[in-house]
């Protein structure tokens, strides 16, 4: 899965690669230090200078890459990593040509650096190159040892454990790269959501401003036309023409903006005399989706009107998490849908075909003679991305399985070799292998990813106990020398701590690594081994656990960042949909303005003298539009038509919703009827007001100087109880 040449590398991936390169450099420092201790002891054969040069070049490039990782571009970094990885491959490939005539007792030291090589290869060419490097290194090591000598316990154990370290790095490093990619995806999604949000916000702000100005223009014109003041008629007509132009251009602008589905569906339903209901929260849909849905809706309504002209029609728009659904329902004569002739283009093409062409769209028709018709248009909402980077997790799980298999094979090989190398020690080697496998099995059986404290304690106890028992037995019972090979199981135990770290027990893992080092150092000192030998033996477990922990901490931080970004995306999307809903509200208001005010404005612009009736009509329309801004929940029937009639009688009616949407629907309805009853009798002035929450009453009404309030008397629990029969005190 290489990614060479892919454009648009994000910050997450870049930092994942930098971390791996730095990691590779750290590993190479450790390996080089160990190697130099061999050089100091003169334990190396004579290699030709060119061969040494290749090895040192690989080291130098790796170090260079690690040093400049945070200062160079991603491209340069990958080239350096590629050069380093190429250096390791070269040492492996050219090794046979460089072998001295007198043979060797050690294979090229760079082969021990397969962890560093794996990290560099991961950066240069992704997981595939990483694994190829690790496996080639291990195989080449064994083959060269077999051919050129050095196939001893220490050497083979070294190769095995190097293979294991490399595999661990490939898995965790690959995981880091995957998480980095996930991070970038999430960041891109967050940025896109923020951009959409601000675009929608800007659109809303611009539209609010434009609508306010147009509204102002229309209201002023209508108020003037209604006032009956002696104004020049041509000037009034010109003002009305300006207002018409403003309303028309606002409505046209609106048509060019992304359609707000709800508004368009409601308008379409109204055009065909159908009732409109919306269920669920308005979600956003793309332009193509809206166009297809609206086209099909139009056709369905058209068909319904044609075939069932007298039917009651309703349109229901439903938003769910998974789909947007529009149902067109009529109670007309119905028909048999299986018998739609192909030539009935209306249904076949315009409804079913149109919806089928829309990705995620479908249409169904439910009808039977005599039982009405339901046309259902559906569009499946694109599934939202999972919050966790699931692909990364799957890859990690596969990787862990692969590493576990490698672990089993390498540790079994080490145990067998050790048993062969030290005859009679097989009970020890077998016990060590069995202990490690049992512990891993216990961990695998843990129901949660993070094992419980008691389970962790058991694992640590078994691992450390096994290790101490093992080294003591090896050196006291079997009298083995302190070396890499005879303490192979220290790495086996270290891997158990890596597993604990992978399962979230990072602190325990580090402490375990400390115990391993302490045990190895004490045994080494007691056995009188040279210091450099002790350091070399202790190094591998430390590197294995330390590296795994460091990389896992990085992964965890990246994942936290992903979650934060994801929340930001969700928040942006919410704000966007809020702005969208507000804009759709506004769009509806403009549509209302165009519907009610335009005919009157056209009449005023004709420049003829207005009759009293017309002036009342202007006043009524002006009041109605004002209600759109200020009357809120009061701008409903039955109050609305009573208010319109009062205004036509010349009453100055003012409706104020000062409640802010806290009043419940079941309270609003009685308030509307209550107000309507009194407003119907008004002569000069009426002010209806929904009071702010927290007042004693819910609404007030002042008609011609008379003030009344509406209070919902809540029935208390005591009152609600049925009356008890009074005990009769008979004398």
């Amino acid at each position: 899965m290489t990614e060479t040449g892919r454009t648009g590398i994000g910050a997450g991936q870049r930092s994942a690669r930098r971390i791996l390169v730095v990691d590779s450099a750290l590993l190479i420092v450790i390996v080089a230090a160990v190697h130099l201790s061999f050089v100091a002891n003169g334990q190396l054969g004579e290699f030709p200078p060119w061969s040494l040069a290749i090895g040192w070049l690989a080291v130098a490039v790796t170090l260079l890459a690690g040093t400049v990782a945070h200062r160079v571009s991603d491209q340069v970094l990958r080239r350096l990593a590629f050069l380093a990885a190429a250096g390791y491959w070269m040492t492996i490939v050219t090794f046979p040509a460089a072998v001295p005539a007198d043979g060797i007792d050690r294979i090229p030291w760079t082969l021990s650096a397969s962890g560093a090589a794996a990290a560099a290869a991961l950066v240069a060419g992704g997981r595939a190159l990483g694994w190829a490097t690790v496996i080639t290194g291990a195989v080449a090591g064994l083959v060269y040892r077999a051919i050129y000598g050095g196939l001893d316990l220490d050497g083979v154990v070294n190769d095995m454990q190097a293979l294991l370290t490399g595999a661990v790095i490939c898995v965790i490093g690959g995981h880091i790269l995957a998480v980095g990619r996930g991070l970038d995806r999430e960041a891109a999604a967050a940025a896109a959501a923020a951009a959409l949000e601000s675009a929608e916000k800007g659109r809303l702000a611009a539209r609010t401003k434009a609508a306010a100005l147009v509204h102002d223009e229309v209201l002023a014109t209508l108020a003037l036309a209604a006032s009956g003041l002696p104004l020049p008629r041509d000037r009034l007509a010109a003002q009305a023409r300006d207002a018409v132009a403003a309303v028309t251009s606002l409505a046209d602008d609106q048509a060019h903006e992304p359609a707000v589905l709800r508004v368009a569906v409601a308008a379409e339903a109204r055009r065909h005399g159908a009732s409109f209901t919306e269920r669920g929260d308005s979600s956003s849909s793309s332009g193509a989706t809206s166009t297809a849905l609206l086209g099909a809706l139009k056709q369905a309504l058209h068909n319904s009107s044609r075939h069932a002209p007298d039917a009651v029609r309703s349109v229901v728009l439903t938003h769910t998490d998974t789909e947007i659904r529009i149902e067109i329902i009529d109670d007309g004569p119905g028909f048999d849908p299986t018998r739609i002739a192909d030539d009935r283009l209306g249904i076949r093409q315009s409804i079913i075909g149109r919806m089928a062409r829309l990705p995620g769209g479908s249409a169904e028709i439910e009808s039977a003679p005599g039982s009405g018709t339901v046309v259902r248009l559906r569009w499946a909402v694109e599934p939202e991305r999972e919050m966790t980077t699931s692909d990364g997790r799957v890859a990690l799980r596969v990787g862990v399985v692969v590493v576990t298999v490698i672990y089993l094979v390498t540790q079994a090989a080490c145990a067998v070799l050790a048993a062969i190398a030290v005859p009679g020690s097989w009970p020890l080697q077998l016990t060590q292998l069995a202990t490690a496998l049992v512990i891993l099995e216990i961990l695998r059986g843990s129901p949660q990813r993070v094992p419980t404290s008691s389970l962790t304690a058991l694992v640590v106890l078994l691992a450390c106990g096994g290790l101490v028992a093992g080294v003591v037995a090896a050196h006291v019972v079997y009298g083995m020398a302190f070396s890499y090979g005879t303490t192979w199981f220290a790495v086996a135990v270290a891997f158990i701590f890596v597993e604990l770290a992978l399962r979230g027990r990072i602190g325990v893992a580090l402490a375990g690594a400390g115990v391993i080092v302490a045990v190895l150092v004490s045994v080494g000192v007691l056995a009188g081994a040279p210091a450099d030998q002790i350091v070399r033996v202790s190094m591998r477990p430390v590197v294995l656990v330390g590296l795994a922990v460091a990389l896992l901490i990085v992964v965890e931080r990246m994942q936290r960042r992903i979650i934060v970004l994801h929340r930001e995306t969700v928040a942006s999307a919410e704000k966007q949909s809020w702005a969208l809903a507000a804009r759709s509200e506004l769009t509806g208001r403009v549509a209302e303005l165009a519907r009610t005010a335009l005919p009157l404005l056209h009449r005023i612009s004709a420049g003829t003298a207005a009759t009293d009736a017309e002036r009342s009509e202007y006043a009524s329309c002006e009041g109605d539009l004002r209600d759109g801004l200020r009357a809120g929940s009061l701008a409903r029937e039955p109050l609305r038509s009573v208010v319109a009639a009062a205004r036509e009688r010349g009453v100055d009616v003012l409706l104020l919703d000062d409640n802010g949407g806290f009043v419940e629907d079941q309270i609003i309805d009685p308030i509307l009827s209550w107000m309507a009853e009194t407003v119907a009798t008004s002569h000069t002035r009426a002010v209806g007001r929904l009071l702010p929450p927290g007042r004693q009453s819910q609404a007030s009404l002042t008609v011609d100087g008379r003030h009344i309030e509406f209070t919902v008397t809540r029935v208390s629990a005591a009152q609600a109880q049925p009356l008890r029969a009074q005990p009769i005190n008979s004398p």
Partner: protein
């Protein structure tokens, strides 16, 4: 007390100015001074008006409160004319030093009465003005007495000073005193709230900031 009050109007629409001129010509003691389409154009000249009728929404996008401030600095009283705007703009203007907020579609006699009251430099309390104040979260925390809140609420419900007085069994003068105190308190709040609170509120009203209780 002036013998005649000169009245200027700032409005985008010339026709509105002509309508106002009609009303002014009818009333005793009022003289029409001038029509300007922006506050900048008005105050550019020497002061030639005692009372300015200011349109709440001007096409040049200027802020109502800032417009009021400029006219006050110029030396004239301000009466704001509205078409029936949202309470946010009404509050914004109310917090500045205005005599009142009057709807353009107010019946003629009431409009003339409002002009005459404002010409005397007196407060012109209207239902719209009281309603915008009564619902202003800023005023909810202000040190108003219970009686003052009662007066404001009743006034916002459409009653005039006499109606409020009858409801509360107090004199009309007392009602007017309460209204004056509410107005001056609101102006003081307006000055201190010019920055942060205003921005926050605007945010809520524009929907950019989540209002408490909206979610």
């Amino acid at each position: 007390m002036r013998a005649t009050t000169r009245i200027a109007i700032v409005d985008d629409h010339e026709l509105v100015a002509m309508a106002v001129q009609n009303l002014v010509d009818e009333a005793d003691g009022l003289v029409f001074a001038r029509h300007a389409t922006s506050v900048a154009a008005l105050v550019r000249q020497m002061r030639d008006a005692d009372l300015v009728l200011l349109d709440l929404i001007l096409r040049d996008g200027t802020d109502p409160a800032e417009n009021v401030r400029q006219i006050r600095d110029w030396g004239a009283d301000v009466l704001v004319l509205t078409s029936g705007e949202d309470p946010y703009l009404v509050r914004n203007a109310s917090r500045a030093e205005v005599l009142g907020i009057v709807r353009k579609s107010t019946p003629r006699q009431a409009l003339v009465a409002a002009l005459l009251t404002a010409a005397r430099g007196e407060l012109v309390p209207t239902t719209e003005w009281a309603s915008a104040l009564d619902t202003d979260p800023l005023l909810a925390a202000a040190p108003l007495t219970f009686r003052e809140r009662e007066v404001l609420s009743l006034y916002a419900s459409g009653l005039g000073a006499r109606g409020v007085a009858e409801q509360l069994f107090i004199s009309e003068n007392t009602v007017n005193d309460h209204l004056r105190r509410i107005r001056s308190l609101y102006h003081r709040l307006g000055r201190s709230a010019a920055t942060k609170v205003e921005l926050y509120q605007r945010g809520i009203e524009d929907g950019y900031v989540q209002a408490p209780g909206r979610d």
